[in-house]
């Protein structure tokens, strides 16, 4: 049945592609509707803003794509992409081998280290020994969850998985967990907030593991959708070259978050 569906879907896909290329196509960009500052935050009006939103707009403008932001919960993003609910994922999703079995990625558009934060009154570092007996919170199905399970699973007393990173931060403030591991920039934004300043500080950066953490964040596209991936790649190169990327980045960060120039996917 699966095979039959796959072949019909492929045939229909070709047919639809032939039809679709004639008109200006909408590209639905899936994202998870949750605050992830400074990449994503919601205005009171309901509009989304932040670094990644501006980058998406810049990429779409560069390739003249008619992009529509489509909210999908984080754990439904990849299924939504494969079932064609959306056409691309641009939601700070790291490029990993595990995900590449299901979907394709564009080149990376940013890469930042992974950090662990914890309450101020405790001192430990981001190593398996440091987290011994601690309760560690991570967001479900992120590279951080995978990393935590692989490296800290043996020593931490429990690894709790949250629907959003924000809820993990919340429980760190409430004291229900001892540490949370996530992207350093997202955590930095939290540490700079009033709440974060009062409770927690940086415990350190985790040891790199390219296999789990991947080479950086890229746009996810359906397997075989080389056309869209190519366009996004060209756009990323374009905005890197013409200064648009630097201009947006300057508004949010005091350094270039693109990471290592040579390390591309």
């Amino acid at each position: 049945m699966k095979k039959f569906l796959a072949t019909t879907a492929a045939a229909i896909g070709l047919f639809a592609a032939a039809l679709g290329s004639a008109q200006a196509e909408q590209v639905k960009i899936g994202f998870s509707p949750e605050a992830y500052p400074p990449f994503w935050s919601q205005e009171a009006s309901g509009e989304w803003s932040g670094w990644e939103v501006e980058i998406i707009n810049a990429i779409c403008a560069a390739e003249k794509l008619d992009c529509v932001l489509t909210p999908i919960p984080w754990d439904g993003l990849i299924p939504a992409l494969t079932t064609k609910k959306i056409d691309a994922i641009m939601n700070s999703m790291s490029i990993t081998d595990e995900r590449q079995k299901e979907i394709d990625f564009s080149d990376k558009y940013y890469n930042t280290p992974t950090a662990v934060i914890g309450p101020k009154d405790q001192t430990f570092d981001a190593t398996p020994e440091g987290l011994k007996g601690k309760i560690l919170g991570v967001q479900v199905s992120t590279v951080h969850a995978a990393y935590a399970k692989k490296h800290f699973g043996g020593s931490a007393s429990e690894i709790k998985e949250y629907q959003t990173q924000d809820e993990a931060n919340q429980d760190l403030v409430a004291g229900r967990i001892d540490a949370t591991q996530a992207d350093s920039i997202a955590l930095d934004a939290f540490l700079k907030s009033d709440q974060g300043k009062a409770c927690c500080d940086l415990k350190g950066y985790v040891a790199p593991d390219l296999e789990v953490l991947g080479p950086g964040v890229g746009a996810g596209v359906r397997k075989g959708d080389t056309e869209l991936a190519g366009k996004i790649n060209a756009a990323i190169k374009g905005i890197r070259a013409n200064g648009k990327y630097a201009e947006i980045t300057k508004k949010y960060f005091d350094f270039d978050i693109y990471g290592d120039e040579t390390q591309s996917n």
């Binding site: 019909t8 879907a9 639809a16 949750e34 919960p73 439904g76 079932t83 609910k85 919340q170």
Partner: protein, 223 residues
Amino acid sequence: MLRGLLSSVQIALGAYGVGLLIGIGGAYGKLYGGPIVRDLLEVYTTIVRAVPELVLILILYFAGTDLINRVLEALGYARIDINGLVAGIWVLAVVQGAYSTEVLRGAILSIPQGQIEAARAYGMAPMLMLRRITLPAMLPFAIPGLANLWLIATKDTALLAIVGFNELTQETRTAAGQTKAYFTFFVAAGVLYLLLTLVSNRIIARIERWSRRGMPAVSGSAR
């Protein structure tokens, strides 16, 4: 948050309406349908009533829209874009439909059957009979159950937060995450839901009185 409330009410209304239609069809099928129709409906209501709404919503939300598009594509039509509102409405309607099937079936059964037989004896067409006799006659019996279903519908919209739909609970969650005032926002949302329920109760009481007009007063009819 008011925007969220609005879309919650919208979904609840839509789901309730479509659910009622499914319910009328289902109740008719269960009472007058052939054996296969009856069994299939039994399977439908049993499954929906035994499996958590959350699981059904996930299955229908992802599988349902995917299925529709595959069917459309197979028939040579272009994919239609099912937006969150429509998907949310139809997912909840399927759930509501199962419950209202049962409520309406019970209500139709409690109509004095002589009334229906009399209508048939007059040679009324089935649709006319449904509209003129069955529906109005069963209304007083069905309203307590249907009122309950409406309240369930308003609260079930909260479950759509899990699939990322921007209804009241989800809006509250984002707003709370943004401002860190979790307690305040959740309490406020609770008050909004409660208001919705209380207002609904008022309206339902009026409708019930209206539908019972001309009937002898029954005290303590609802359960």
